[in-house]
Each structure stands twice: as C-alpha cells, then as structure tokens.
C-alpha cells in the first residue's frame, strides 16, 4: 500500500481540520477558479505562499508526502521542458516579447518572454497542486460528501464518493493478493523482464478475478443499504456536518471576497482585454 495514507479517515486536531466540510469544499472550489483564471504573478504567488503555510500547519507525515512532492515537481519540470522543445516560441501570445537570451541553433532559442511564461506556468501548476494537497489532507471522505451535498449536488453523488473512498483499501488489498498468488503460479510481472504487451496480457489474467470479486460485493452492499432505508427521502443529513462556528464565519467572508474578486477579474478581462495578457516584471521597472 503506497501513497494511500494521504487521505485521512478521521478528523484531525489542527485549525484547518476543524472547519466544517462545507467551508472546505467551497473554499477549494473558489481557489481553483482563482488559480486557473490568470497567469499573473501578483495573483498566483500569495496563494502559493498561503497553501505552503497551510500544508505545514496541517502537520503532515513528511515521509509519506515527500516522494509525492518530488514526483510532482519533477513531472511538471519535465512537462515545461517538453513544451519548450515542441515550440521554443511558446507563450508569445501571452507576453509579446521576443528578446533572445540564448540561441543554440536556429530552432532552439530561449527568449525572455518564453522563459517568463514557462516559469509562471510552472508556478501555476505547483500552486494548483499545493492547494489541492492542503485540501485533501484536511478533509475526510464523509465531510467531502457533506460538503458536496451542501453545494447543491444530489446526495447520491456524495454517497458514491464516500463508498469509493471506503473500498479503495479493500480493492488494492485484493489486487495485491491476486497478484502474489498468480506470481506463485509462475506469472512474471517484473517490468524489466517482460515486454509491455506481454505484461498487458498478464495483467488481464489478474484482472478477471479482481473484477469478479469487486462486483460481487455490489449486491451485498446495496442490499445492506436498502435495508437501512437508503434513497427513500429527498434529503439526508450528515453526522460529520455541524452548525457553523466562529472560524467558519471568518472563512465564509474570505471566500465570498475571493469569489467577488474572481468575478470582477474575469468580467473586466472580457470587457477590456489586457495587453499583454500576463503581468510582466520588466514592464513595471
């Protein structure tokens, strides 16, 4: 079982853990719009700093999230390099700057505008990641379901997410058991010794029993839920959801203000398009 313990199933002790599910879900939704709407450094950087602070304040197990962070940073840097290789002039429509800094060949050139655009893009990706990480580490599946219902999704959707979270550990345990017992019978699963297509065929052999056992559960679970009267009422309440406390009210004010700012920024961008499309430091010097 790798990586599976960033989702916590019980409520934590810290300040952010103690907020209600509704507050967390709404704040996260607003912040996602906030980070996606622009490429401006003055807008993205504060959120990046705040999300790092909130991750630290959640007192995570650094051992579990360290490899995760390294992997994400590595993948995003790789993506940036690939973007640059595919089109060394990318970001031109955003910056409108073609000052050449280095030129290796006629094709591989680094312009000032591209460098700026790509570094902001990297920061934007990392901000989206750190915000989501803080969100995931602070919420429990039950609170997530309650929050989704409070936003206005049907509660059946919330239940789907909750049940899915509940059965991920079970299914991954089944997967490991089946894989080990198939290896006992001589199935080679080592990535170095077999070709991808061979591995694909071997995975199918593992997959059939896994699918059968997983979907055999459906009858049991749904009968148990039916017996307890699931789906009879139009609404339901959640044990993990309680009335707003003082901190929730403060956060309510904060996310309302951020939402207003996002609306203003997006609408004003439609009425008078910004030229250039992103904030550039050398224009302000």
């Amino acid at each position: 079982m790798k990586n599976l313990n960033i989702i916590n199933l019980t409520k934590g002790e810290t300040f952010l853990h103690q907020l209600t599910g509704t507050t967390k879900v709404r704040l996260f939704a607003v912040l996602m719009v906030y980070v996606m709407m622009s490429f401006d450094l003055p807008i993205i950087l504060p959120l990046f700093v705040f999300s790092i602070i909130s991750i630290i304040s959640l007192k995570p197990h650094w051992k579990t999230i360290q490899p995760l962070i390294f992997f994400v940073v590595f993948l995003n840097v790789l993506n940036i390099v690939l973007y640059w290789l595919a089109n060394p002039l990318c970001g031109l429509e955003y910056t409108g700057d073609q000052t050449i800094l280095f030129a290796y060949t006629d094709y591989l050139i680094v312009t000032r505008g591209t460098l700026w655009f790509l570094s902001i893009r990297l920061l934007k990706m990392l901000t989206a990641f750190s915000t989501s990480l803080a969100f995931i580490m602070s919420i429990t599946p039950s609170e997530l379901a309650a929050g989704l219902t409070n936003i206005g999704f049907p509660y059946k959707l919330g239940s789907i997410v909750e049940i899915a979270f509940r059965y991920i550990p079970d299914i991954s345990r089944d997967y490991e058991n089946i894989a080990v017992s198939m290896q006992c019978r001589g199935l080679e699963l080592d990535a170095k010794k077999t070709k991808p297509i061979e591995r694909l065929k071997q995975m199918v052999i593992i997959l059939i029993p896994l699918i059968v056992t997983s979907f055999d559960r459906v009858g049991n679970i749904s009968n148990a839920m039916d017996l307890r009267g699931f789906g009879k009422g139009k609404k339901r309440s959640y044990y993990s959801e309680y009335p707003e406390r003082r901190n929730d009210k403060i956060f309510k004010l904060i996310y309302c203000l951020i939402a207003l700012f996002c609306a203003y920024y997006i609408i004003s961008g439609f009425i008078t398009p910004r030229v250039p499309k992103m904030w550039i430091y050398w224009r302000c010097l």
Binding site: N87, I160, A164, I168, Y175, I208, I211, V212
Partner: protein
C-alpha cells in the same frame, strides 16, 4: 426478457445497486490507475483502468460508466499523487460514456450476450471514442483551464488515444468475452 426503451438505457436506473456499482467502479479505476499501469509517455500510461468503464457500462449503462470513468480519474489523481488534471477527467468521462454504451447496441454482459457483431461495433466505438475524447476534447479543455500550447497537448492526447485503444482492444475484448461466458451459464433454460 423485458425490452427497455432507448432513453431509459441511456440514462441508467439510479437505484442503490447502480450507486454502489459506480462507487466500486470508481475505486477499481483508481486502484488500477495506480497499480496496473505501464508508463509510455509523460502523463500517459498503458492503463488497465480503461477497462472499468466498459464493465460498468455493460452492467449499468453509459451514464454510470461516464461517471465512474471521470470521477475515478479524479480519485486516482488524489491517491496517485501526480497532480490534478481535470481536463483529462473530462476526456475520460466522455470516453466512458462512449465505450460504456454496450447496452445500447444490444450487447448484454449480464445475460451473456456478446457476439462477433458486438465485438466489431465495440472496437469501432473504442477507437472513435478515444480519438474524440483525447484527440479533440481534452486538448481543448487543457487550453481552457491551464492555457499553454495546443500542439503538445494534442500530441499527448494522441499518445493517450493510441495507448488506450490498444488496451481496450487487446485486453477489453477477451475480458468482455470471459465475463459474458461466465454469466451465460444457465441462460438456455426456459421457464415452464
């Protein structure tokens, strides 16, 4: 056997069984995305998770399959730890809808109905769905959400489309056949 109307199959029946089935589908999708994938290209895997929507679709209908595929991708992003790619989740949901429409053209895994005719339609739909979902829809959403260049998103999308089609054809047809054969036991009995 009672014939269901086209629209009813399209929407699916949202009873407790479907809800639990979709939830299990999501969990299975997430687990397979994390364990059962073979890396080909950045952000792109030869992933067996793509087989989940056809099974959910075969059992419950196309809309549950779309939900299982889209939400499953979000959840896999959550536990797998490679960042969040909502653009890909939208593409996956569309693909789930298309390949999960087994019941619409008469294949029925529950009753063990899966012939050569269904196989051909399934293969065509799998390829078409991949091209549509990852060749066109995902790059457009990538552009909308993250900005950035269209060319490389399209390149990634095509790699994903090819690898997913491979999985859906090489592994999907044997699995569907095996499951149909397993469920077909006892269907030749007639009620007296």
């Amino acid at each position: 056997m009672k014939k269901e109307s086209f629209g009813k199959i399209l929407l699916g029946k949202w009873d407790t069984k479907t809800i639990v089935g979709v939830a299990i589908g999501i969990a299975l999708f997430a687990v397979l995305m994390v364990y059962g994938s073979i890396t080909v290209f950045t952000n792109t895997n030869l992933s067996l998770a793509m087989l989940v929507p056809i099974i959910v679709g075969g059992l419950f209908g196309p809309l549950p399959a779309a939900l299982a595929c889209g939400l499953g991708n979000v959840l896999a992003d959550l536990i797998g730890g490679w960042g969040f790619w909502f653009d890909w989740s939208i593409g996956n949901a569309l693909l789930g809808f298309i390949v999960g429409s087994l019941k619409l053209y008469g294949a029925n895994i529950d009753e063990g109905v899966f012939d050569v005719k269904h196989m051909v339609i399934y293969a065509i739909l799998a390829v078409l769905g991949n091209v549509l979902a990852f060749g066109f829809v995902t790059p457009i959403f990538t552009k909308l959400i993250f900005g950035g260049e269209l060319e490389i998103s399209i390149a990634q999308g095509w790699v994903a489309a090819v690898s997913n089609s491979t999985v859906l054809l090489v592994a999907g047809i044997p699995i569907l056949k095996a499951l149909a054969a397993r469920n077909a036991r006892g269907t030749n009995l007639t009620k007296e």
